[in-house]
């Protein structure tokens, strides 16, 4: 309710107006086109709107000029549907001729367009977390500045065992690939550190009531949840309704800072691991937060931050290329070579697969001055998508799935 659509439209319109205003032209001003694929309607709209806000705040702060090139910014709505994502990707590439694609949000959208985008050699900076896009079936034109699904939950597994001292945990999430990959990552690290995942519960997407699943949480000392979108708010409410008091930890979407205004007091104490945290104190984050507040009166979460950071990566890549984006092979190489120190999530660089290596923050939700906020407990630096595992061995094991790693009986 903080950003209503009217304010949002007004903000965007103002920006569009500013963009249309003739800028003093520099001799031989080059121009580039950036297309954003995001979910402005449908069940994932909460994150999609944040993505557009994050990208817009960044471009606006640069006056729509990156490394001397004028930016033409096109936004397309995927409607939370793979088919529409494909249509819109085609429009962006073939009609608008974009040089970069930002987004999309969801793995099922990214998987629908991944091959197409690679064939057309368009560098894509997606937030879609599907592990294998930068692991077993890498997309050569992907540059992912957010995280894989399991990148943050690897960290969470370590933290839950080492710092929260949990031994037996139930993992609960939505019944889809993002959930399996998050859960698999958590389980593998948590088990390696001597913990035990007693049960993994998969609730259908759109299940109105999680209580039947929550009722199965027993004989454990903690709960790990990986819900996304609006579901974490609902889960925490229903969890408290059943009278459970066990510690809860969650992934990047479960404790997303954008949800903070919507959580009730029952979320206090929840731990989450995320590639972005609202309380990181550096210049870039201060600027980012101020921009989000000024342009959209929004509390930024990691979707907005992911797009903002992706924008910074494009800018740094363009600088290295001196604005020449005529050869996509060179462009993606330059993007993947980007190293940034001051971003809203701290220093980042990319691995050979184009996936980010950077901070993962473990935070706790606390009430400060009557408002819920995230307070960082521990920062894991330079976390790669492979955690501390050997890359070859990691890639040789199966991808995390509904049944892998399997749940085995716990040692007494």
């Amino acid at each position: 309710m903080r950003v209503n659509r009217r304010k949002f439209l007004a903000g965007t319109a103002a920006i569009a107006g500013a963009a249309a205003f003739p800028m003093p032209s520099i001799a031989q001003a080059k121009s580039i086109k950036i297309g954003l694929l995001c979910d402005k309607t449908g069940p994932l709209a909460e994150g999609g709107i944040q993505m557009e806000q994050g990208a817009t705040v960044f471009l606006k702060s640069k006056n729509f000029t990156l490394a001397g090139s004028k930016v033409d910014f096109v936004v397309a709505d995927t409607g939370s549907s793979p088919a529409q994502a494909k249509t819109k990707a085609q429009e962006l590439i073939e009609r608008d001729g974009v040089n970069f694609i930002l987004g999309p949000l969801a793995a099922f959208e990214m998987l629908a367009i991944s091959d197409y985008v690679a064939q057309h050699k368009t560098p894509i900076l997606s937030l879609a977390a599907a592990d294998d896009l930068s692991q077993r079936k890498p997309n050569p034109y992907l540059c992912r500045a957010s995280a894989t699904s399991s990148q943050a939950t690897h960290v969470l597994g370590n933290y839950a065992r080492k710092e929260m001292k949990l031994k037996r945990v139930v993992y609960i999430d939505s019944d889809f690939a993002f959930g399996y990959e998050q859960g698999g990552g958590f389980q593998q690290v948590f088990t390696d550190e001597g913990g035990c995942v007693v049960k993994k519960l998969w609730a259908p997407l759109g299940a109105p009531d999680f209580t039947p699943y929550i009722a199965q949480i027993q004989d454990v000392d903690g709960v790990c949840q990986g819900f996304a979108g609006a579901a974490p708010v609902k889960f925490m409410k229903q969890y408290a309704d059943v009278g459970l008091k066990l510690p809860v930890c969650g992934g990047e979407t479960a404790g997303d800072d954008a949800l903070l205004p919507h959580f009730g007091d029952e979320a206090i104490g929840m731990i989450s691991a995320c590639p972005y945290t609202i309380d990181l104190k550096n210049d870039a984050n201060a600027k980012f937060k101020a921009g989000m507040d000024k342009d959209f009166q929004a509390v930024p979460g990691f979707y907005a931050a992911g797009m903002y950071v992706s924008g910074m990566v494009i800018e740094a890549g363009l600088k290295a290329l001196h604005g020449d984006v005529s050869k996509p092979e060179q462009t993606i190489k330059a993007l993947r070579a980007v190293k940034l120190q001051d971003t809203p999530r701290g220093p980042i660089h990319f691995d050979e697969f184009g996936n980010v290596v950077g901070n993962i923050f473990v935070r706790k939700i606390e009430k400060v001055g009557g408002k819920l906020t995230s307070v960082t407990q521990k920062t894991y630096q330079n976390v790669s998508q492979f955690w501390t595992y050997d890359v070859k061995k990691y890639l040789a094991q199966p991808a995390y799935s509904r049944d892998w790693p399997p749940v085995t009986a716990c040692k007494a």
């Binding site: 659509r5 009217r6 069940p43 759109g206 109105p208 039947p212 609902k234 954008a258």
Partner: protein, 287 residues
């Protein structure tokens, strides 16, 4: 904590919510023969309107619930009077219109309330719960059971003990004959549609502290209303009540006992009922 106890309590509370949703759906379907596909949207919109009253205007919870119900009644009345009535007799057109309105409402909500989930604080008198014999009884959920029972009793009294109720029943049983004996069936349509919409809106707001309100809630709830009505029988109040509680139990226990069938468990009883007793458990044989 006994898992079965928790599930049983939750089955009944979830059934109570479903009853608020489906009673109106069933009456509208029974009287007007329209599967009102906006019903889930009315549930969601009622939730949003009520939540705004609480969050933006700081109104008391129960007043907000009343406003949500009244607002939806007015909205439902407008839909019936100005859209559905013009299409009377053309079932397909009516179904398509209600579906179209559902999409419009969904987009409207996204525009006004953005994509963020909205959670409504449980009224302070009903926060927490009591532990009896090791079982945790959340007060608010118990209150929902009470409310559903009260609403069911009022509806029953209305339908069974008043002149209006007699007219509605006559309309459900045989609209043509009801017209012949001088009942203004078209006015009944409006009244029933308003009533059904009000119940949905009220249910949406009552559900808000449990389910939260979020984009997509409409189409999460609509199939449940359909299932309840098919199971219980069209136009039957008792059918809605029994169907709601039954679906509450099937949903809760089914997901735990046969988690592999999570997507299927709600629709299995519906299929069985359709095959064995197409008019539903408490529905009247089609004339």
């Amino acid at each position: 904590m006994s898992i079965w106890g928790v599930l049983a309590i939750n089955s009944i509370t979830f059934g109570g919510l479903l009853f608020l949703l489906s009673a109106g759906f069933s009456l509208i379907f029974g009287l007007m023969r329209i599967p009102n596909l906006t019903h889930g949207s009315l549930f969601m919109l009622g939730g949003y309107v009520g939540a705004s009253m609480v969050l933006a205007y700081d109104l008391p919870f129960w007043l907000a619930a009343l406003i949500a119900a009244v607002a939806m009644a007015v909205f439902g009345g407008l839909i019936e009077r100005f859209l559905l009535r013009r299409l009377s007799g053309s079932l397909l057109a009516q179904v398509l219109v209600t579906l179209g309105i559902a999409f419009i409402v969904a987009d409207f909500c996204l525009m006004v309330w953005s994509g963020d989930p909205i959670s409504v604080r449980t009224p302070s008198a009903l926060v927490g719960g009591t532990r009896i014999a090791g079982l945790f009884f959340p007060t608010y959920r118990i209150a929902i059971i009470v409310i559903a029972v009260v609403v069911a009793a009022i509806l029953w009294a209305l339908l069974d003990r008043t002149r209006l109720g007699a007219m509605i029943r006559a309309g459900v049983d045989d609209p043509q004959m009801a017209r012949v004996v001088g009942i203004r069936v078209s006015r009944l349509f409006t009244i029933v549609f308003c009533l059904g919409a009000a119940l949905a809106g009220f249910g949406g707001f009552m559900g808000a502290p449990i389910l939260t309100v979020y984009p997509g809630l409409d189409f999460d709830m609509l199939p449940l209303a359909l299932v309840v009505v098919i199971l219980g029988g069209v136009g039957s109040l008792l059918g809605s009540l029994v169907g709601s509680i039954a679906i509450g139990f099937i949903y809760n226990f089914g997901l735990v006992v046969v988690p592999e069938l999570a997507y299927f468990v709600l629709f299995l009883p519906m299929v069985v009922v359709l095959v064995v007793r197409p008019q539903g458990l408490f529905g009247k044989q089609a004339p």
